[in-house]
């Protein structure tokens, strides 16, 4: 009896956990997006994108656990790798942009206009 109950309990916990993880992921995404849209500092904006990345990562891991499918976990490893590479590029870009204008304000870059 207890084994079946244990399984049911575990099931309930996991279900509750997935929702929590997804909410956490959504919140993290919202924070990241809000930060990206409101802040003017290039580095902070960049950090916000990283935040959104992590939101996606959490969702992946949670869903992988939920569906008992390791693709999610594997995907996370890829995302982290790519994020690292991208971080290197993005920071290099930020450095270059700073050298051009002497400021980190994103509003100074509006050349795509027109």
């Amino acid at each position: 009896m207890s084994a079946a109950l244990d399984m049911l309990l575990a099931q309930a916990m996991v279900e509750a956990d997935l929702a929590r993880f997804l909410v956490l992921s959504g919140l993290l995404l919202a924070v990241g997006l809000a930060g990206f849209l409101t802040r003017r500092n290039l580095i902070v904006m960049f950090l916000c994108t990283e935040l959104m990345f992590q939101a996606a990562v959490i969702a992946f891991v949670a869903c992988g656990r939920w569906y008992w499918d390791f693709s999610g976990q594997v995907f996370v490893i890829f995302v982290l790798t790519i994020a690292a590479a991208e971080a290197a590029l993005a920071l290099a870009l930020v450095v270059l942009l700073y050298r051009r204008r002497g400021t980190l304000d994103a509003e100074t870059w509006t050349e795509l206009h027109e």
């Binding site: 849209l37 904006m45 870059w109 795509l112 027109e114």
Partner: protein, 715 residues
């Protein structure tokens, strides 16, 4: 003499000869030289042009290679044995699939018909190239290389056309000669008339070429082959492809006819030939008189069995009538022209009409013989015209030239021209007399729609021919010495400084060629007497050995009114037509010459008075006027074809400019630009506003997807 089934296909260049065989067959693949030598000459002339050669080197190269071709052809003739051979030169197109295949090789169909043609084509080509070496002198260092390169291309294509053993190679040659003709008519490309004439020749020929292309397709669909030997076997045996339909086979003769009428300048496609006289005269002599324009006759003679397929032979009757009417029409135009080269051009159209009449009247022998004699006498006529044009600074108006016979250095020219004129006029015992008779007499012994009327028309035309031919000779060569130079001064003319024009007489190259071809024109009568039992002599032997005569005897037996049989014999003035024609055509030619002599030698003022008198009478004035204006055929074509096409092209051009370019293309290009202008305020360039749009868009997308999922659209 259906010798086709006996044709042996020589797959390898040299057939194996059994040991001890006395008769060793020569390696016939050498015949390829006929084709390759002109090609080599073309390449060398191109090199000469590239190295800016200012000598006569290209001429000598061309003459030498054409002479090589001629010798090879002669050698081929000496090694010729009656059934003929297919000589493989090179593989070309060999396709095979289940249950069929398509073969078209560069190989020669050597039978008597193609030998006859290739002999006079390469022979005259050599002589005329030699003539041109002097004639084209003023262009040394300018177009000299280009000219001889064109001649080489022509000889290459013409040899391919004549010797081809399949319709595809013939088509290559057919288009090749058309191209060479375009090239050489437009030789003086700074002259607008020459350019227009070249274009006209090319475009008019295109109509005929369409017929040939379609005929080849239909041959392929109907008989499953384009090779002559297989084609003839299939026709003889009546083997048709499964997919063929009756009208396919019935259409082939009509399409071939269209092709021949285009290339050989017959009604209604003859208009290009007179204009083609804008080219240098050796070209007119070689391409537009002696050789290329007879390609149509060759085509019909070669594929003659196609014309005998049905029972009614309607296509042949049309060929005969078109030939006869073209002969008459062109002769009437020729009578009223003043430009001697144009007169010769119309006379060529007219004589080609005679040849087609021969084809239509079941006498391929007569047609081929007339082609043969005409090649010589018309070449000599053109060459003499060219000599005059060359010597008198481009003067071609017969009213401004007179008595050349009495000027020093013009004897050979004038007498060569006289010989040419006699042959063309059909003066008794000249070559033209025999060859023309061979055709004329058939009109009276062959049964067909109104062939007797056609015969009288042709006889009348023969009289006109004699008249206009001798009109030229009496005006230009006889009479008092009097001349005006033309306005074509090419730099090196002597004697202009003192205001006194000195015609420069032809020198060795031109004189010798004119003399040789004139003698050849006279000698062309000899084959008529080289009798080997067949009436008509050597030429008849040649033609009767080939496909051109396949099936004729049977048809002739049915169509002739008791010819060579007992019973009712076709009669002409109560005599045997063959005998009567000798007297009749001789008499008609003689009358024409006498009238010409009266009006243009003894009483020249009468000719002008007569013309004025005719023009004064409104009832009759239209006739000379129409003749002088070439029966307004060019104007008619202009009104019915060129003008509507011009209007249509401009309307379509306008449509293209306004609807396609402006509305469709331009409009579509303007659309995104307009949208962009309208949306532009949204683009501030700031990263964050773009990000807002992106995030908003993503949210919107997710929302839409969710909405669809809600209603089960996306599942």
């Amino acid at each position: 003499m259906p010798a086709l089934s006996m044709l042996t296909k020589v797959a390898q260049a040299s057939p194996p000869v059994p040991v001890g065989d006395v008769h060793v067959l020569p390696d016939l693949s050498w015949a390829g030289l006929i084709l390759w030598l002109p090609l080599l000459s073309l390449a060398l002339c191109g090199l000469c042009a590239a190295f800016k050669c200012r000598t006569k080197l290209p001429a000598w190269i061309t003459v030498a290679s054409l002479a090589g071709s001629f010798v090879t052809a002669l050698w081929l003739y000496l090694n010729y044995e009656p059934p003929g051979d297919v000589i493989m030169i090179a593989q070309w197109i060999n396709l095979s699939w289940v249950g069929g295949g398509f073969d078209a090789n560069i190989s020669f169909y050597v039978d008597s018909l193609s030998l006859l043609w290739i002999l006079f084509v390469t022979g005259l080509g050599t002589l005329i190239a030699f003539y041109a070496s002097e004639y084209m002198e003023p262009d040394l260092g300018k177009g000299y290389c280009r000219f001889f390169a064109g001649v080489s291309v022509f000889l290459f294509a013409m040899s391919a056309l004549v010797l081809a053993d399949n319709l595809l190679l013939l088509y290559l040659g057919w288009e090749g000669v058309g191209f060479a003709s375009y090239w050489l008519i437009g030789y003086y490309y700074t002259k607008p008339e020459a350019v227009a004439a070249a274009k006209k020749a090319f475009i008019v020929n295109r109509i005929g070429d369409l017929g040939l292309a379609l005929a080849i397709y239909l041959c392929w669909t109907s008989f499953g082959t384009v090779q002559y030997d297989e084609l003839m076997t299939a026709i003889e045996a009546g083997q048709y492809q499964v997919m063929t339909e009756d009208w396919f086979v019935a259409a082939i003769p009509w399409l071939l006819m269209l092709a021949a009428f285009g290339k050989s300048a017959q009604l209604p496609l003859y208009v290009w030939l007179p204009d083609a006289m804008e080219g240098p005269t050796p070209v007119s002599a070689l391409i537009h008189a002696a050789t290329m324009v007879t390609a149509g006759v060759y085509l019909l003679a070669r594929l003659y069995p196609m014309f005998l397929l049905g029972d009614d032979h309607l296509a042949l009757h049309v060929v005969a009538w078109v030939g006869g009417l073209t002969a008459l029409l062109a002769a009437t135009i020729g009578m009223a022209q003043y430009d001697i080269k144009r007169i010769m051009a119309y006379s060529t159209v007219s004589q080609l009409g005679f040849m087609f009449m021969g084809i239509g009247l079941l006498t391929t022998y007569g047609a081929a013989y007339h082609v043969f004699t005409h090649a010589f006498f018309k070449a000599v006529l053109f060459l003499t015209c060219g000599a005059i044009m060359h010597g008198f600074a481009g003067q071609l108006d017969l009213r401004k030239l007179s008595g050349l016979r009495k000027i020093k250095g013009w004897k050979i020219t004038c007498y060569a021209m006289l010989i040419g004129c006699l042959c063309l006029a059909g003066f008794p015992f000249t070559s033209g007399y025999f060859s023309k008779d061979a055709i004329l007499v058939e009109a009276f012994v062959t049964q067909g729609p109104g062939f007797e009327v056609l015969g009288w028309i042709a006889l009348f035309t023969a009289g006109l021919t004699a008249y206009y031919t001798f009109r030229v000779w009496f005006r230009v060569c006889a009479g008092p010495v009097q001349f005006e130079p033309g306005d074509d001064h090419h730099g090196d003319d002597h004697g202009h400084d003192d205001g006194q024009f000195q015609p420069h007489a032809p020198r060795f190259a031109m004189n010798s060629v004119m003399a040789i071809i004139a003698v050849g024109a006279l000698a062309a009568a000899i084959p008529y007497f080289m009798d080997s039992g067949v009436k008509g002599g050597w030429i008849a032997d040649m033609v009767n050995d080939s496909t051109a005569a396949d099936g004729i005897p049977a048809v002739r037996a049915a169509a002739h009114t008791g010819h060579d049989h007992s019973g009712h014999h076709g009669s002409l003035l109560g005599m045997d037509p063959h005998v009567a024609m000798y007297y009749l055509s001789g008499a008609v030619g003689f009358i024409g010459i006498v009238i010409a002599a009266w009006l243009h030698l003894f009483r020249r003022e009468d000719a002008d008075a007569l013309r004025r008198a005719l023009l004064r009478r409104p009832a009759i004035a239209w006739l000379p006027r129409a003749m002088e204006h070439k029966w307004y055929v060019d104007e008619f074509y202009h009104a019915t074809l060129r003008a509507p096409l011009w209007v249509a092209s401009h309307v379509l051009h306008g449509f293209d400019r306004i609807v396609i370019d402006m509305i469709l293309v331009g409009g579509i290009a303007q659309l995104p630009r307009g949208v962009a202008r309208w949306m532009q305020p949204l683009v501030t360039g700031s990263v964050q506003s773009s990000a807002v749009a992106m995030a908003g868009g993503a949210v919107l997308l997710i929302f839409v997807v969710l909405l669809f999922m809600q209603y089960g659209v996306l599942n």
